[in-house]
């Protein structure tokens, strides 16, 4: 069976500076991977390279999503192919109601995949269900995308988008940052509902805390732009004890 995400010896740079240095990672459908590492180790870079953010350039190696070469796809094509990035800092889109945004995004993806658009009543019904799981007020969805949202509200909204779009591969970039413990539980609950045998989840985080709620199958330690160690969920606990210092020196 083809891996959902297959990254082979990936090298990538931004503004001429190499950030990923021969990255290898394989995520199979049904798995939850955690990528941990010190600040500046290129964790967010990985998420941007995979999603195709302008300015992030692959120089060597390959990244395949369900066998398809990501570097050959535009940002929106990657999204329609099932790649979702939950942003560390979700952007504001002034003047665009969240509900309008959700409808536009979902139907754009469906259209690209040759599927029928979701009708407005069905969409509203679905969004209501999700909002309930995430303990969100429907009133929030009438407000412009992320405008005036608190940190916790933004992360809930990201999770709601992810749950609505039902991606094949979810990449969560520091989703725990800026969350209090209650919001963390709610968001984790949403993510856990997405766990399925057909879906892969990559959780990028600095802290073990999030992994108390989203239990990973595999934990990687990233340092200086590549994975330096891989283990089971106990590795995260070990890191909590020992810190990242030894990996930073190892990579150097």
């Amino acid at each position: 069976m083809t891996a959902l995400l297959e990254i082979r010896d990936l090298k990538a740079e931004i503004a001429g500076k190499q950030i990923l240095n021969g990255y290898d990672l394989t995520v199979k459908a049904g798995e939850v991977h955690a990528i941990m590492g010190p600040n500046g180790s290129g964790k967010s870079t990985l998420s941007y390279v995979l999603s195709g953010r302008p300015g992030y350039k692959i120089t060597e190696g390959q990244a395949l999503l369900a066998g398809a070469d990501l570097s050959q796809m535009s940002v929106d094509e990657r999204a329609a192919a099932g790649l979702f990035l939950a942003f560390q800092y979700p952007l504001e889109v002034p003047g665009v109601a969240t509900m309008t945004f959700l409808r536009a995004a979902l139907n754009a993806q469906r259209k690209k995949r040759g599927e029928e658009e979701m009708s407005s009543p069905d969409l509203i019904k679905r969004v209501k269900e999700l909002a309930k799981i995430l303990d969100m007020d429907m009133e929030m969805l009438r407000r412009p995308v992320n405008v005036g949202f608190s940190g916790g509200e933004k992360k809930r909204a990201e999770t709601l988008q992810m749950m609505l779009l039902e991606p094949k591969l979810c990449i969560l970039d520091e989703t725990d940052s800026g969350l209090d413990i209650d919001a963390l539980k709610v968001v984790s609950n949403g993510v856990n509902q997405l766990r399925s045998k057909d879906r892969g989840i990559v959780v990028i985080t600095h802290y073990q805390r999030l992994l108390d709620y989203i239990t990973p199958d595999v934990v990687h330690v990233q340092s200086a732009g590549r994975i330096v160690r891989t283990g089971g969920k106990e590795l995260a606990l070990e890191l909590e004890e020992t810190g990242y210092a030894r990996y930073q020196s190892e990579a150097a």
Binding site: S51, R53, P54, G55, S74, V75, D76, R78, A79, A80, F84, L85, F87, P90, L91, E92, V93, P94, G95, V96, F101, A104, A105, L106, A108, Q109, K112, P144, Q161, L165
Partner: protein, 495 residues
Amino acid sequence: MAAVQETVEQVRRVGADQYKYGFITDIESDLAPKGLSEEVIRFISAKKDEPEWMLEWRLEAYRRWLTMTEPKWARVDYPAIDYQDLYYYAAPKSTAGPKSLDEVDPELLRTYEKLGIPLHEREILAGVERPEGEERPRVAVDAVFDSVSVATTFKEELKKVGVIFCPISEALREHPELVRKYLGTVVPTSDNYFATLNSAVFSDGSFVYIPPGVRCPMELSTYFRINEKNTGQFERTLIIADKGSYVSYLEGCTAPKRDENQLHAAVVELVTLDDAEIKYSTVQNWYPGDENGRGGIYNFVTKRGDCRGANSKISWTQVETGSAITWKYPSCVLRGDNSRGEFYSIAISNGRQQVDSGTKMIHLGKGTTSRIISKGISAGRSSNAYRGLVSAHRKAEGARNFTNCDSLLIGDACSAHTIPYIEAKNPSCVFEHEATTSKISEDVLFYCMQRGLSQEDATALVVNGFVRDVLQQLPMEFAVEAQKLISVSLEGSVG
């Protein structure tokens, strides 16, 4: 390639090719002799069968115009206009005199059909969707083709409630006392170079009179089309809302693609008496010229409303996407106590378009209020300036204004300018001014695209969000059209 860069490229490619109203109607025209002279003015006046005083009025304006010079203060740049190289009157030959709809040249009907303008009374505007069961809105249309009005719909039905809606040339014959009482009282013949020129040579436009206490039962709209080559269009619109009345009026405009520039110098005058309200909306989509700035309409327009009565209100809403050069400042003279003026504007420039537009809110009466919301979007190599004046007279006790001007830049070859003038001669007035200028954010586009939106759709979504406050002011029937028009002018995502 970076997302914004791609958008810029896309916008550049799209340019003029996106202009879907660029066709020419092949129709035989009746033209005045080329150039401008007293004879030509007499010719126009005679064609319209005008009363003697009207001819005198025109000639006086013409003589004054000869002594004036073209204004040069706007941030626009264009070669000198040869006023003797234009036709000042062009009319389809087949439209001699007023006609019923059945008699209108089928070629003209086809033209309006192509433009999506309903000239049959049972039809509604194209592209308007309503939930089932809800009554479809009706819109009365006056269609002006080059220098003449070719059809006006729903006239009889409007007449039943006393509303007069007809070409101004017809009003001059049928209701001379009304026209004479109000014409030139808001924009005097001496007002400015282009308004004076218009006063001398105006050929058609709409006349609206709403009697006291009447709420006009439907939207009124005028649709302007320039077709003939080397022709200037000089329309004149006069709308009077008598005491306690209300009317919502919309104008639309398009022109064929031609390599030469064409002059459009219109004058619009609005008058509201006590407690009356006029809501005036414009969707301006004149041909903008090609990507090299060749061709396109010079839109030099004087629009002004006079809140003559107490507690009256005039509201201007404009969506400006067309024209090579736009020079217009729909204004309100707030004469009546507690009267209110509003200006909501979306001005989009692309290619080599030049826009110098804004408004004037002149507070004369006590307790007058005004609100200005302006959204400028510049793309391509265009230049987009907001120029506005808010002034309070000594007697304008307690006048208030709120102004918000936002500019959005797409790409790095365009420019945006905000030039506000504020003059307060009464210490009790409160004027607020807010302004922002920003580039369309690459990060926001990336965010939208990561959710599956194409680059064009992402840009359209961001821009539509940016202009939302203004779009909400348009009559619902036209907001959808305007939204599409915005997408088309920027990306060509809509065919």
